[in-house]
């Protein structure tokens, strides 16, 4: 950066400080004499100065430097590589001007390939001799910039037990419940067989659990070109790595195979994995798999799939390989291969992991936290997941640190979080949230997550608690779209045109989903009820590719960003700007910029969905939705009353501001049921939880109705459960409404 802009920024900061002083004095004055409108105008002027200064601090060249450093070596959780980067993050944060930065370690169960015995899949002939054996790792490549791909941990299924199984092969497509049902309707059973499934559509852990409960011997998972290159004529023109973004046949997706009904570290459920903490025996741990699994690429999968016997796969099951996809069981008699061997050598061990927590102390309310987080551990060199996010985070902390060095300080505290062991099941953030649950429940304003900041550059994917979405969209209006685009100049413009709220209508708002689960925001939302945002630049999913093709493969290198995705790091800059500005507005506004009516709209939508989808069936059972409907209406009314009260309140009185802010902040907590959802006691958010069965309505109630409608076996019990879940969600919503209007505990 040249001298000119630095001086400008410095002057700007001086002006900010001066304005801050004047505003402070005026607040003091007006808190005696009223004059709310004047104070608000001044505050908003100050905010817009700070916002501009903050965003100007963000520099793509520095982000590139961070990413280069972060992707030099592997940084798998529980290894020296991750610890070294933890220390680097901590030191950098201190140098950047944060008030404190420290390492928060936990001891968690992790999983690694056996150092000497590689795992593999093989085809055996009638003499049990191996005719084909899968590649032990992705080949190293000559790249610019260079990357030591062979330093990356070999492909494996984390937490798989070790063992060798041999037998017939059965294909289950993606391994969804519906896939198994289809297979069973064709009288093909996986019991006693080795299953082959393709990646996608459902989690690794669920694929495996579905095989396990059906008595399969083991599971092979592969990446089909249909899912990593796409299908149709366009697919032929899509360059695979190292030339392009799409997946080559040698690429293998790593990942954990925990059955994450219960998230967090598998041996210390509900408590932080401190060194002194009691641990379950592994056989008492619900999420750990008991049959071996192993992932391969599509080059290796071709050998297996092309040898398979049995009926031809249904058309929707066929992938992108130039073969006839068959279901099995078994291999073609015309070939030499007689069975498949799956040999897995994977260890589990408790090792230390290292979160890094850095803090900028709030000027006025140090005991209110706006948290920004990203995980640091990677299966590979981390070029996308997570280091594109980590480099963006480092730039956000740099920008705030620079503002602090110039004398500015946010009203509330900013907390920067670099999580470890996310890849193993969101362990780092889960354990920290379990450790600091009391403090966070009481004091956390919001948690803003970025995992893969830039996996592509088509549009933004935003997930947010409903009341946070408006603040996010306001920030998006301030951030320029990084390159010239016909849709408009700002992130907001392009986002709403390319991924509108209502599909096919580019004149609606940008699409913002609920933060159901998937990254480090999960424990904040589902354990504690802290509202959250999750951001990523995303590909155009209309080409039929959802997971980005090199996800968890050895090919997610610095080269991938520098040569293919974001050569000038402009999208990284945009992500840092959006993240920083959203955090600033949450940390610095006198009254929190939460719009509660958005929550009302979500509840109203769930109510409508419930009525239209199940109204008739419920009425036939004499189950009235009146109480629920009235709770949802009461919520809406409570929000209106609350908003009107705040609009008329003397918010320059500190106790008044704090009271309303506490109500705003705590609203999301009101949706937490301390008893948890049915069968998932650590999923405690009654609105945001993922539903187990397809439905768009209230999760536990929707699931109960689905079971009652589809399960003839215990129909009385199932309908009793519907009534129970209906009354619980009614109470929860009414209780949430009460938090907004019952300051006097009136009824």
């Amino acid at each position: 950066m040249a001298m000119g802009p630095r001086v400008k920024v410095f002057l700007l900061a001086v002006v900010c400080a001066a304005i801050g002083l004047v505003v402070g004095v005026l607040i003091g004055f007006f808190s005696r004499s009223g004059g709310r409108a004047d104070v608000e105008t001044l505050l908003s002027e100050e905010e817009s100065w700070v916002s501009g200064a903050l965003m100007a601090e963000i520099d793509p060249g520095r982000i590139e430097g961070y990413l280069r450093k972060l992707t030099e070596k592997p940084h798998l959780a529980g290894t020296e590589g991750s610890y070294t980067l933890a220390e680097y993050v901590r030191q950098t944060w201190l140098e950047q001007g944060l008030d404190s930065a420290h390492i928060a370690p936990y001891h968690v169960l992790l999983s690694y390939p056996h150092p000497d015995k590689p795992s593999y899949v093989a085809l055996l002939d009638s003499n049990d001799d191996e005719m084909f054996r899968s590649a032990p790792r992705e080949p190293n490549l000559d790249l610019d910039p260079p990357a030591n791909i062979s330093s990356v941990v070999p492909p494996f299924a984390a937490y798989s037990p070790s063992g060798t199984v041999e037998g017939d092969l059965v294909c289950v497509n993606y391994g969804r419940t519906s896939d198994f049902a289809r297979l069973e309707s064709l009288n093909i059973n996986v019991a006693g067989k080795i299953v082959i499934a393709r990646y996608g559509k459902t989690s690794r852990g669920r694929k495996l659990r579905r095989c396990q409960v059906r008595g399969a011997l083991g599971l092979i998972v592969y990446s089909d070109p249909a899912d990593t290159v796409g299908t149709g004529p366009a697919a032929d023109d899509r360059p695979v790595y190292p030339e392009g973004w799409f997946g080559p046949g040698t690429a293998v997706q790593r990942g954990h195979y925990l059955y994450t009904q219960v998230e967090g570290e598998p041996l210390t459920p509900g408590y932080p994995a401190k060194d002194y903490m009691f641990r379950l025996n592994e056989n008492a741990s619900e999420p750990l798999p008991t049959i071996p699994a192993y992932p391969i690429g599509y080059n290796d999968a071709w050998h297996l799939l092309s040898a398979m016997d049995g009926p031809e796969a249904p058309s929707s099951w066929r992938g992108g390989l130039n073969i006839t996809y068959r279901l099995g069981p078994g291999l073609q008699a015309s070939g030499r291969a007689r069975k498949v061997r799956l040999n897995v050598n994977v260890n589990r061990e408790v090792r230390p992991i290292h979160n890094v927590i850095g803090v900028i102390r709030g000027r006025v309310e140090p005991d209110r936290y706006v948290l920004l987080g990203n995980h640091r551990d990677a299966w590979n060199l981390g070029g996308v997941d997570p280091s594109s996010g980590t480099s963006s985070l480092m730039e956000v902390s740099h920008a705030f640190g620079a503002m602090v060095k110039k004398g500015w300080r946010p009203r509330r505290s900013l907390v920067f979080c670099s999580w470890d062991a996310e890849e193993y099941g969101i362990h780092g953030s889960f354990e920290w949230v379990e450790d600091f649950g009391k403090i966070l429940t009481e004091r956390a304003v919001a948690y803003l997550n970025v995992d893969m900041a830039v996996r592509a550059t088509y549009s933004l994917r935003g997930r947010a608690s409903p009341q946070l979405a408006p603040a996010l969209l306001e920030a998006a209006k301030k951030v320029p779209w990084p390159v010239s685009a016909p849709e408009g100049k700002t992130m907001y413009d392009v986002w709403r045109k390319r991924t509108p709220e209502v599909n096919g209508d580019p004149d609606t708002k940008p699409r913002v989903d609920l933060p159901r689960s998937g990254s480090d925001f999960t424990p904040f939302v589902h354990r504690l009820g802290v509202p959250a945002i999750d951001l990523a630049f995303f590909q155009d999913t209309s080409m039929g590719i959802w997971d980005y093709p090199l996800y968890h493969t050895a090919y997610a290198t610095f080269h991938l960003q520098k040569k293919i995705i974001d050569p000038d790091f402009l999208f990284h800059r945009a992500m840092s700007q959006l993240w920083a500005e959203t955090a600033r507005s949450l940390a610095d506004s006198l009254i929190l910029p939460f719009r509660l009516s958005e929550y009302g709209a979500v509840l109203g939508g769930m109510m409508e969905d419930l009525e239209s989808r199940y109204g008739t069936q419920l009425a036939a059972r004499d189950i009235s939705l009146d109480s629920l409907s009235s709770a949802v209406n009461n919520f809406t009314t409570a929000v209106d009353t609350f908003d009107a009260e705040v609009a008329g309140a003397k918010i320059t009185d500190p106790f008044v501001a704090r009271m309303y802010n506490d109500q705003l902040m705590q609203l999301e907590r009101a949706f937490i049921d301390p008893q948890g959802l049915p069968g998932r006691k650590f999923y405690r958010h009654t609105v945001m939880a993922s539903r187990l069965y397809s439905s768009a309505t209230f999760p536990a109630l929707g699931d109960a109705i689905y079971l009652a409608v589809n399960n003839k076996a215990d129909s009385e019990g199932a309908w009793r459960d519907v009534r129970k879940q209906l009354s619980i969600i009614t109470f929860i919503i009414q209780s949430a409404a009460n938090t907004l209007v019952k300051i006097d505990l009136t009824s």
Copy 2:
């Protein structure tokens, strides 16, 4: 009251208001220029004026009037009598000047005697003819002041199932676990028998459950004169009702027989019993008894006990009847009686109950609540339990209302609670706490309970969360002991001499116990972690009588107070003064008067007890207490650091005051484990819970060690559980310490 004092009080109020104004202005001034010491002096002067004015409002004559009104008619939960009084309380509170008062209804499972078929116990001869039948109710008495004793519900065991059982009789003393063990060591089994037990030492529900799990047919419970008149030569001089305080042979103790491992309404565990709420089937409700039970007095018990056969009872089992106490089974062959019949006719039904909630809105922090509560429902006319408490509460609300009418208003909100259905298992307060759990967790400062305000006049029994005890003792120093006493002039003086903290040492502080369980503070403490106080005037327990003799009998009348216990209502006045002044100090102090070091002392005491009691056995198992010990030390250090910080802080800055007050208020919540205690998921307070087995240390850990030491069966599993409970309590204490010092989330 004459005109003179009224004018004085009015002037006093005007002076208060003026001082308030000056202080307000000065706070404004000093909050800019510092000067904490001056502000504190002024505040403390203002507080002492308000305190004096408030106590001067309290009038024994008015309390007598309230009690007379409250004891006119029975007011059993779920009946017109209780609803009528609810309306009376609500109206009175509005007239007294409270800002709001409303009824909060719930629909709970209650239990009543069959209206036409009286329950009874009978002795049958060899023809199955009844030779003796128990009295259907206590006889009416000619009293001054009169009381319609026959309007009181007949004696019954609430929630008992209906049924008739016949068989041999076995005596189990108090029905404690140790009593059953002793009986079993003598090869006497209760299976297939009717059990007779005396009241005392353990709850009704536990007596019954112990019979039920051992296969008994039914349970008869009686009041032994040893427990209601006492034993020894002095007993002969103790007048029984209506002449005196002790129990006549016709008196029968009513009560509920729920097995309250899980408290609250038995059909809606964990959720409020709103009209729309889902209810368990009764057979799925854990606390409901399945064998019939019935209570009798000692006149009737004499017929049964004197006819019993079997070995003579151990000396400690013998009561105060002039008979040879025998264990059974069966009846003496020399008599005519051959067996016992127990005929129970009791209904269960869901009925509405009515809590009343009244509020005085706080001047500065309306969203912070100091709650004062007492239950209103009674088994009888309520002369002691609970109306002596209700009349005291009505006078406290009167006094605060009078202050409000004069322009004063507490800094925080005061919430007055009149609970229904406490007698049935603390239902009214439990359901309300379940209903408003989110709000109370976030905003409740403390809950101050009085149940039986004046059962006797010997000394005070105080129970308090450790950090509240100092504020309670300060208040006790301001309240005069109602009558002349050699021990001193104030409540504090007499209390500490008659019931000192250290037995036998009258120079220690007054004894204050932990609020483990027993009345409406239970849901506040154990469900939410709201700190609580519970107060009562008590008898001299050295005479060997713990429950007051007329407890839950029809004889707890206005006559009992007016002629026997507190004729001039001076002890009622003292209770109202103590209650009001404690509440005032919690509601009005700038910084909450919580002394956290007292909590540290309780934890330290538990740690010492653990080491001295079990240290050797734990060491032999290689179980180290180092982590726990260091957590306890960290807690103490954190308290010291916190106290020093507050002492040096600019508490005139509203955000600073609020931050420290929030930490003070929330500390007790930190001891709540959302997962609950082992096997008792709704008992969530890890320090305050009642222990299941005798020990003075951390409850879950103490219980686990007890089981491991005493249970040879699954010794490995039991010791694993010790390690688990040890690590959980270590984490909880460390986590509580963190809430005091980790404003910056540093490690």
